[in-house]
């Protein structure tokens, strides 16, 4: 069953935990504290409470490794006795909180309805209780009774555990495997214990460590106040209090007791966060270690890669008129675990004349988005533009200062990103975001900016601009949000609009509207449009020319109609045949299997070969260059010459 299947995973997980030096040391330290305090009567060189008035305030020596205190008691012995009670008290509070909170939380989260309302109210009630103060208050009735005081702390903390467990349970309640267990006729108890609890236990373990750490601090604080002390085995909080009374005479006494307490709390916290980082399914607390700036010089091309392919220099259109001219653009990221950079965009070249539309096509993971971000100088760290050239309206952008690239953004080049619902700042109204950008570009007065913002919204087809401007992004639909994003991108009156999958996240009916809008705007404002898409239908509808990307490289390039009606690359043919509207007149290939591999798995030879139905031995020999494939056409296929025959066979087959 599920439990049995999970056990090896748990063991692997424990191994991983012990593998990390910090958590292994933390675990060892806690174990040592427990073992030493249990066997303290045997291990400790002296009694923890025996006075020795002939040896007061002795510093560390061979007889007293950590010295003696104001009554001549051996500090080391007192420390050895004092750790266990602290951990035991914390464990009691944590245990009580979990024993009460977890079952109640499971019940509340799983059954919902009345039990949920009642239990959630109890949890809310516990949040109104000042926990530490109540524990202090209980000391009036139960002075020095650590068991009752820490138990009470556990009861109050159970409210938080209840809430936490309930929310976790609710999140998995409707998962398929839980439904399946229900259909199988398992009882509620079996489902909760066998299927829900194992899934939600890693975050609960994290909570338990946090609880332990808080418990240790609380008990130490109580003891410091003299309310949770045990004269027989004084815990570390008590020792710190005793030391604080002598601090002017002998400051040293503060050090050993403080150090062991800090180490213990640190060990618990470290273990908690290691468990969180290791737990399957939970988002690890990623420590983004950003490398120092990596200069272009450190980019190492794959050893076997071809010499710069001359044919790639053949422009699709005469470059003199091009508004945007990209040459041999390489974007690279540090390869995980290796010192070298891995190219994710590999020597990409294309031209976009003013007023025209270029489609950049390919599946996700082909490097389309990185290519267009590179044009705008927006490659996210730790990525870098390793080499190449981006000339915009005659100005080189790659070597330009970040300030001058920033000056181009918004004013000359506008950008629309993929998901309109995340492209707008959720904390500001639509109007205020649009006005902020407009103010930046027009430097006009408040009223003018306001007027223009409403005009822009009207221009992108929003019926009631004034009302829409007052809304927050979460209050409008995806299509509306995309219109707003377009309005923001247009506010600097750019000459080039880059639209990165502008319709992918939208409903089918809205997709056509947005595409129409982009085409209209392009005509009316005589902008160039760089349209990133994986949809060849969009290319057919809107583009003058097209560049097809696969695994970081351009594999086919040419006029849009030309490429669509007479493709010269198997990848493009595969994309075409996966279009629902594709008709039988074209050469067709079976829809491509699999997905784009991760950059580090890209083959040195033809990168598409592993997925290509036409791949032969010749395709796996070495890198393939972009070759002329007719007037204004480029294709990166070794079997280019045989392609018409091969595709005809495929159609017949």
């Amino acid at each position: 069953m599920a439990q049995a299947g999970r056990l090896p995973a748990t063991r692997a997980w424990l191994r991983a935990l012990l593998h990390s030096p910090v958590s292994a040391v933390s675990l060892l330290w806690l174990l040592a504290v427990v073992v030493v305090s249990v066997f303290a009567p045997l291990l400790a060189p002296y009694s923890p409470v025996q006075d020795n008035l002939t040896a007061l305030f002795q510093g560390p020596s061979l007889h007293h490794l950590l010295g003696t205190d104001e009554l001549g008691r051996d500090v080391l012995s007192r420390l050895m006795f004092g750790g266990g009670t602290l951990l035991w008290g914390a464990a009691e509070a944590t245990g009580v909180a979990l024993l009460l909170g977890v079952p109640a939380g499971l019940l509340a989260g799983y059954s919902g309805g009345k039990p949920d309302r009642l239990l959630s109210w109890l949890a809310d009630l516990s949040f109104a209780v000042p926990a530490f103060v109540v524990v202090v208050a209980l000391a009036v009735i139960y002075p020095q009774n650590v068991v009752i005081l820490m138990g009470a702390l556990g009861v109050i903390a159970a409210g938080g555990v209840l809430r936490f467990t309930r929310n976790l349970t609710r999140a998995v309640r409707d998962e398929l495997y839980v439904d399946a267990a229900r259909v199988d006729g398992l009882t509620r108890r079996q489902i909760l214990v066998g299927h829900v609890l194992p899934v939600i236990s890693p975050p609960l373990v994290v909570q338990a460590f946090t609880g332990m750490s808080v418990g240790v601090i609380v008990l130490a604080s109580l003891s410091f106040l003299g309310l949770g002390t045990n004269p027989e085995t004084p815990n570390w909080g008590q020792l710190i209090y005793d030391a604080s009374q002598q601090v002017t005479t002998d400051p040293w006494l503060m050090v050993p007791s403080g150090a062991v307490l800090v180490l213990t709390v640190m060990a618990l916290n470290f273990l908690g966060s290691s468990v969180r980082d290791l737990a399957p399914g939970t988002r690890p607390g990623v420590r983004v270690r950003r490398p120092r700036r990596t200069g272009p010089g450190r980019w190492l091309p794959p050893a076997e890669s071809a010499a710069p392919d001359e044919s790639a220099q053949v422009p699709v259109e005469p470059s003199a008129e091009s508004l945007l001219r990209v040459r041999d653009l390489v974007v690279a990221f540090p390869a995980p675990g290796e010192g070298r950079l891995q190219a994710v965009v590999d020597r990409v070249s294309f031209d976009l004349p003013a007023g025209q539309t270029l489609g950049l096509v390919g599946e996700s993971g082909c490097g389309k988005t990185m290519s267009v971000l590179a044009i705008q100088g927006l490659i996210p760290a730790p990525g870098v533009i390793a080499s190449g050239s981006v000339r915009f309206d005659g100005t080189e952008l790659i070597s330009a200062s970040s300030r001058s690239v920033a000056a181009v953004r918004g004013t000359r080049i506008g950008y629309i990103s993929q998901d309109p619902m995340t492209a707008l700042d959720p904390s500001f109204t639509i109007g205020s975001q649009l006005r902020e950008v407009l103010r930046r570009h027009t430097r006009a007065g408040r009223r003018v900016v306001r007027e223009r913002s409403l005009d822009l919204l009207r221009e992108v087809g929003i019926a009631d601009p004034a009302a829409t401007a007052r809304l927050y992004p979460h209050q409008i639909s995806g299509g509306m949000a995309q219109r707003v994003a377009i309005a923001i991108a247009l506010s600097g009156q750019p000459d080039l609009l880059i639209a990165d999958e502008p319709t992918t996240a939208l409903d089918v009916t809205v997709q056509a509207e947005i595409l129409d809008l982009l085409r209209d705007l392009k005509e009316r404002r005589t902008m160039a449009l760089l349209l990133v898409t994986h949809d060849l239908g969009v290319v057919a509808d809107a583009c003058d020319s097209v560049a097809v990307m696969y695994a970081g490289q351009i594999v086919e390039q040419g006029g849009a109609e030309d490429v669509l009606s007479n493709s010269r690359h198997p990848y493009t043919l595969g994309l075409l045949s996966s279009m629902p509207a594709a008709t039988g007149t074209r050469a067709r290939l079976a829809a491509i299997r699999g997905a784009v591999p991760a950059p580090r798995d890209w083959p040195v030879s033809c990168r598409f070969a592993p997925r290509c139905p036409l791949a032969a031995d010749v395709c796996r020999v070495g890198p393939v260059a972009l070759a002329q494939a007719g007037p204004g056409r480029l294709s990166r296929c070794v079997r280019l010459a045989e392609l018409p025959e091969l595709t005809a066979e495929q159609v017949l087959a």
Binding site: N269, T422, F428, H474
Partner: protein
């Protein structure tokens, strides 16, 4: 703003029955006293007549429910009874002590937010030295108990360097001295929480900076400064406010220890001394006042988080 107001009123309406339950539990604390209150406070060796006279004078010999009704009736009017030891009205004692605790917690909060937010932001933006310092010191600073730090500060800055007083409180009527008297307690209380808030801000900031809208705003031509401070910081604030709310509750608890350590006559000191002196009415009053503060902090936190997060509004 109207939905926020409605939400605040709703939370307030929920808080009233909760405080009622807490108050009731507080009253019944007295019933846990072993034997009768007279002998509890006067000691077992006191003359029976004396004990009886103590109980009668305070109405402690009446049936429990009658006492409860009377106590509750007075409590809602702000009368929390009188201290068993000083015979002063509990409310008056608490009111005199409250400003000390609020000064301590308020100043500590200023330090935590004033240092924690910039530090965390810097750590997120500058992956170099600041980030490493914040990361490396975090585990230690969070684990260091405030009372240990307090003793250390007293030794270093009060005893050795004589920069600040080791103990005592000066009221707000002399602002300079007031601040001077609170520097060490505030530092001891705030240090660990400042670091933990910085960590929280750092991770929230890193998350927000990776968001699509940050890239879109930069692509639209907004300068980096305005994207960072107007948009990124603003979007970090909702999770941060929730954290700060939790920390404020931690400050109230921490104040109990720190007041004791620095001999500040605040609510925490009243609490601890009334516990050691078995002064039940004062303990009850203090617990109730702390509960009111906790409820108020939770309410303010929720409302602030809602104001900062348009999506949480008007649910």
């Amino acid at each position: 703003m109207v939905p926020v107001l409605r939400m605040a009123l709703g939370r307030l309406a929920l808080a009233v029955p909760m405080l009622f339950v807490v108050a009731t539990a507080t009253f019944f604390l007295q019933q846990l006293v072993p034997g009768d209150p007279g002998s509890f406070i006067l000691g077992k060796d006191a003359a029976p007549a004396e004990i009886r006279q103590f109980d009668v004078s305070l109405g402690l010999n009446r049936p429990v429910l009658v006492q409860y009704g009377a106590w509750l009736g007075r409590a809602v009017r702000g009368n929390l009874g009188e201290s068993w030891t000083t015979r002063e009205p509990v409310a008056q004692t608490l009111l005199a002590a409250a400003p000390v605790t609020l000064s301590l917690a308020g100043l500590a909060l200023l330090v935590i937010v004033g240092l924690g937010v910039p530090l965390g932001t810097l750590a997120a933006l500058r992956p170099g030295i600041i980030d490493r310092i914040v990361q490396a010191s975090a585990g230690f600073a969070i684990a260091l108990p405030n009372f240990w730090l307090g003793v250390g500060l007293v030794l270093l800055l009060a005893v050795d360097l004589k920069l600040f007083p080791a103990t005592g409180y000066v009221s707000l009527s002399d602002p300079a001295q007031w601040l001077h008297s609170l520097v060490l307690p505030v530092l001891a209380l705030a240090a660990g929480m400042t670091v933990s808030l910085a960590l929280q801000v750092r991770s929230a900031m890193i998350d927000v900076l990776a968001a699509d809208y940050i890239r879109s705003l930069r692509a639209a031509g907004l300068p980096r400064r305005s994207v960072l401070f107007r948009h990124a910081l603003r979007n970090c604030m909702a999770p941060v406010v929730t954290t700060v709310g939790f920390q404020l509750l931690g400050l109230l608890a921490g104040a109990v220890v720190i007041e004791q350590l620095f001999n500040l006559p605040g609510l925490g000191s009243v609490m601890v001394s009334s516990v050691t002196e078995h002064d039940i009415p004062l303990v009850q009053g203090a617990v109730l006042l702390f509960a009111v503060l906790v409820v108020a902090v939770n309410l303010v936190t929720d409302v602030a988080a809602a104001v900062l997060n348009p999506r949480a509004r008007g649910r």
